[in-house]
Each structure stands twice: as structure tokens, then as C-alpha cells.
């Protein structure tokens, strides 16, 4: 069973298995999301990271086990930027507003809604881009826009699929800080990442996945050569630099051959 939190459980997966067609992607996974959780899910491609996120989101049905969600849980999701149709005819403002599906049904925004959207965009530093088409944003701005859309729902649980994929170092830092602030505000956060050094090592709690939960705990507990080899199926070295864990790709003999 995994989870940092001691607070109330928002979502729990007990012995859950999931599959696409006939291929099992996750096998008998136990995973609890507490209200004060901030967890990174790491693992190689095809390990079931996004599947785990989709189970938490509720868009994938387990084929075995039980999935329990707190009633009326407000979940928000930030998709992988690569999966978005950037040619869709929509402005930043319209994209953020679309998450307001409850209550008002009229196509246009009310004064209150307009103020709320602009306030969230302002908090994320992209208020001046509100009338731009979504394709005209940089990677970091696109990520912020989806965060804004998620925040407009005032979520209890925020799920992010590879939030730092394809963004530069500075944007990655910004996103980490933003997520830290949101967690401080009481939002439970679960994200997937394959960026061990730039993202995972900075999170308070990690879960290593490869069709099952290989390990979970703090970065110090999880980012070890043994766990990483079991998770990724490859030897990795772990160094410590200025108090931070640094994963070095490949065993020494592999690196020397490459050089």
C-alpha cells in the first residue's frame, strides 16, 4: 500500500488490475491517495504510469480489484502536451473556461466567471495571453494554461501526466514551485514522470511502477540502484550532490564503452 498522507483517503485502489485488450498493464496494485499527498509515479515507458493515472481519474475501469472514490470528489487533470490537438480553434480564455461545466449553461462567460478565469490566469502569470490561440503559447505557457483550467475547478485532487515533458529547465522549476504552492494550499497531487533528476528527486513521495508497484517512499528510499534496476530493467548509479540525489544513466562499463 502506498501513500505519504495521514489524512483522509480520497481514492483507493485495492488489488486492482487493468488491461488494454488482452494485455495486462497493471497487476494487483494497491494504491491510496490521501488528501495531503504529493506523489510522483515513475517507471519506464509502458510500465502503467498513465494507466494508473487513468484509474485514479476514473476513465479506465479495473478488470479486477476494487476502486473506491470519495463521493463528490473534485478531480482535475492536466494532460500530456503531446496528446493535445493544438489546432483546435480555441483561445486560452476559452480553454480555461470550458472546465466550468456546472451551473451556468450559456455559451458566454458571466462577469464573475470572467473575473475568476482572469484571476487564475494571473496567478499563473499568463493573464496577458488570454486572447491568444492555444497554438501560439510556449511549452511552459501551455502547461500553465492546463493548470489554470484544472485550478478553476478548485480540485481536491490534481492529476498530471508528464507535466515537465518537453519543457525547459526554467519552466520545470516554475512548474515544481507552482505544484508545491498548490500542495501547500491543500490540493493532493499525483503526477507521472520519467524525469528522475529534474522532477522525481524533488518530490516528497515516489512510487516506482512496472506493471506492479515495485517500491514506494521518499526519494532517498526509492532512488537506489536496486530499486531503479528492478523498475527500469537497467543498471543506474545514484550519486549525491549538494544533498540531492543524481541518477546516472548506465553502469560504468556501459558508459566507458560509449565513450
Amino acid at each position: 500500500m502506498t501513500g505519504t498522507g495521514v489524512g483522509e483517503i480520497l481514492v483507493r485502489l485495492d488489488h486492482v488490475s487493468a488491461r488494454y485488450d488482452k494485455q495486462i498493464v497493471l497487476d494487483h496494485v494497491d494504491f491510496h491517495v490521501h488528501e495531503d499527498q504529493f506523489t510522483g509515479i515513475v517507471g519506464p515507458s509502458g510500465a502503467g504510469k498513465t494507466t494508473l493515472l487513468r484509474l485514479l481519474l476514473g476513465t479506465l475501469k479495473p478488470v479486477a480489484g476494487t476502486l473506491t472514490t470519495e463521493p463528490d470528489l473534485r478531480v482535475a487533470y492536466v494532460p500530456q502536451l503531446e496528446t493535445v490537438d493544438w489546432n483546435f480553434p480555441i483561445t486560452v480564455f476559452e480553454c480555461v473556461l470550458m472546465s466550468r461545466t456546472q451551473g451556468r449553461r450559456l455559451p458566454w462567460a458571466s462577469t464573475t466567471e470572467r473575473a475568476r478565469v482572469m484571476s487564475v490566469l494571473d496567478r499563473l502569470g499568463i493573464a496577458d495571453l488570454s486572447q491568444r490561440h492555444i497554438r501560439e503559447l510556449s511549452g511552459g505557457q501551455q502547461q500553465r494554461m492546463f493548470l489554470a483550467r484544472a485550478l478553476l475547478r478548485e480540485p481536491q485532487l490534481l492529476l498530471l501526466d508528464e507535466p515537465t515533458s518537453g519543457v525547459d529547465v526554467s519552466t520545470r522549476h516554475d512548474i515544481l514551485h507552482l505544484l508545491g504552492d498548490l500542495h501547500e494550499d491543500g490540493v493532493a497531487i499525483v503526477l507521472t514522470t520519467h524525469d528522475l533528476n529534474g522532477m522525481a528527486a524533488h518530490l516528497p513521495h515516489l512510487v516506482c511502477v512496472n506493471k506492479r508497484i515495485v517500491a514506494d517512499g521518499s526519494p532517498a528510499e526509492v532512488i537506489t540502484p536496486t530499486v531503479l534496476e528492478e523498475t527500469f530493467g537497467a543498471r543506474m548509479e545514484v550519486l549525491e550532490h549538494l544533498g540531492m540525489l543524481v541518477v546516472v544513466d548506465g553502469a560504468p562499463e556501459v558508459r566507458s564503452k560509449a565513450m
Binding site: 476513465t59 482535475a76 487533470y77 494532460p79 480553434p89 483561445t91 455559451p107
Partner: protein
């Protein structure tokens, strides 16, 4: 100038002009959602499927053939959605099987028993002859239904078109909305079939929407452009068909094609960039996630 007003002296032309203009507007309006969802093939398939219902209904209940064809179309749309959602057969394959089988049945019934309504050729390519007041009322009713549906579900429709998975967990009942859109689409195709024709309805769902996309980056403006362009195509195409002496559907589609070329020449690469990706295919199953809560 007199030549321009001459066709208006014929009652059948006036009815045809009203129906063609309204049909163009309706198909342009609904077409935006169909095109942006990458579902153009569904429009094509449904029109063929409805043709089967058209023929069968005339055979068994001639006075209610429009109702029968409508029910047939809705049943086909829901069957496609259901078969595709079960995951064993893709949406393309489901459309291919269900709608072409329905079309083949229609052709067989026409060949064997003939028809008491529109001729085979008119059903395929559209005609302005024999348009009844009831058909005009039906088209107006479907247009109002489509407008009210989009107005009340505007945000949910945009959300589920852009990002169906997230829409689903954000309170949008994507599967239900999808079914409602399919029903509105079926009714729109049915109501416009007589003037535009089975084989050309799909073109009028796609062409105005694509032109609209080339002209703007805003969803609301695309909806307005597409509706306006569809309306223009219907009006001008109907006039052109009168003078050219060819089926109305063909001229309506050709006017749309000419506008497409003109807009392409004006917008150039910008227009092409905007409309890029409109051919991407969303599986119906993908649009309606497995679990809702």
C-alpha cells in the same frame, strides 16, 4: 435582372430556395462539431444508411416514410456508437458495415419495388421538385432543435470535442452528449436529404466547416462562418442549379468547393495550418470513455 427574379415566380423554386438555404445553414452549423471531432466519415455513412431506411419505409409505410427513415438513421447512429464502444470493431469498420449494408438494402428495395416518393436519382443527388410544406416545417423544426441543443450544451460540446476524457471527469456526460449529437445529426441529414441528396450531404457537413476553420482561430466565429457559408452555398447553389439544369445538390456542393479554393488562395499557408489535423480520426469509443462518475 429579370432573369434573376424569374425562378422566383415558380412556387416549387421558392420552396426549394428556402429548403436549400436552410439546409446549408443547418449542415454548416452541425458540421463544425462533426469535423472537429474527426467524424466526417460518420456523416457520410449516416446519409447512406438513411437512404436504406428511406426505401424500406416507403415500402412498408409510405405515408410515414420520413419518420421511418429518421428512426432508421438514429438507430444506425446509435448502433455505430455502441459497436465501436465495445472496442472489438473500430468506428470506421462499424460505419463501413452498418451503413453500407443499409445503403445496399435501400438500392435493392428501390430496384425490386420502386418508390412512391422521390426517384432513385433524386434521392442520391437531390432535387427541388416535390418539396412539401411539411418538409419545410420539418426542416425548420430540426434547425430550431439543433440551435437550442448547441446553445444549451455549448460548453459541454466544446469540452467533449476538445478533450473528452477530462470532460467526462469534469461533470460532462460525454456518452450521452455523443448520443444526442448523433440524433441531431441524423435528423439534420434526414431533413436536408431531399434537396442535397444522399451522396452529397456529407460534403455540406464538411466543406463549410473546413472553410470556417481556415478563416478563424475562434470556435464561436468558426460556428458563425460555417453556418453563413453553408447558407450562402445553399442559396447560390440552388439558383445555379436552376440555370444549369443539374441536380440541386451538385451545384450546392460545387459552390462550396469554389469558396474553398478562393479562401485557400486568400489565406494560403495560414488557412492550411489552421485546418491541419481536421482529418485526424477520433474513435467513437475514445470519445465516450468507459466509466463515468
Amino acid at each position: 435582372m429579370d432573369a434573376l427574379f424569374e425562378p422566383l415566380s415558380y412556387a416549387f423554386f421558392n420552396k426549394g430556395l428556402i429548403v436549400a438555404t436552410l439546409s446549408g445553414a443547418l449542415l454548416g452549423f452541425i458540421g463544425v462539431f462533426i469535423v472537429l471531432r474527426g467524424m466526417s466519415y460518420i456523416g457520410h455513412g449516416l446519409s447512406h444508411s438513411i437512404f436504406g431506411g428511406f426505401a424500406a419505409s416507403q415500402l412498408f409505410a409510405a405515408q410515414f416514410y420520413m419518420l421511418g427513415a429518421g428512426l432508421w438513421g438514429i438507430a444506425s447512429a446509435l448502433a455505430i456508437t455502441t459497436v465501436a464502444r465495445r472496442g472489438r470493431v473500430g468506428a470506421d469498420a462499424a460505419i463501413g458495415v452498418i451503413t453500407t449494408a443499409s445503403f445496399a438494402l435501400g438500392v435493392a428495395l428501390f430496384a425490386k419495388f420502386g418508390t412512391s416518393g422521390p426517384s432513385f436519382e433524386n434521392a442520391l443527388f437531390g432535387s427541388i421538385l416535390g418539396i412539401s410544406v411539411q418538409q419545410i416545417i420539418g426542416l425548420v423544426a430540426v434547425s430550431i432543435l439543433a440551435a437550442v441543443f448547441v446553445f444549451l450544451r455549448y460548453r459541454a460540446l466544446i469540452f467533449s470535442t476538445f478533450d473528452p476524457d477530462v470532460a467526462d471527469v469534469s461533470g460532462v456526460r460525454v456518452a450521452r452528449l455523443e448520443a444526442m449529437l448523433m440524433i441531431v445529426l441524423s435528423l439534420a441529414i434526414l431533413a436536408t436529404l431531399t434537396v442535397i441528396g444522399v451522396t452529397l450531404v456529407a460534403a455540406m457537413l464538411v466543406i463549410p466547416a473546413v472553410i470556417g476553420r481556415m478563416l478563424t482561430d475562434s470556435f464561436g466565429k468558426m460556428l458563425a462562418w460555417s453556418t453563413g457559408i453553408g447558407m450562402f452555398c445553399g442559396f447560390v447553389g440552388m439558383y445555379a442549379s436552376y440555370y444549369a439544369g443539374v441536380p440541386s445538390g451538385t451545384m450546392i456542393v460545387l459552390v462550396g468547393a469554389v469558396i474553398f479554393v478562393i479562401v485557400l488562395a486568400i489565406t494560403g499557408g495560414r488557412g492550411l495550418r489552421r485546418s491541419a489535423g481536421l482529418d485526424k480520426h477520433h474513435d467513437v469509443a475514445e470519445l465516450a470513455p468507459v466509466v463515468t462518475r
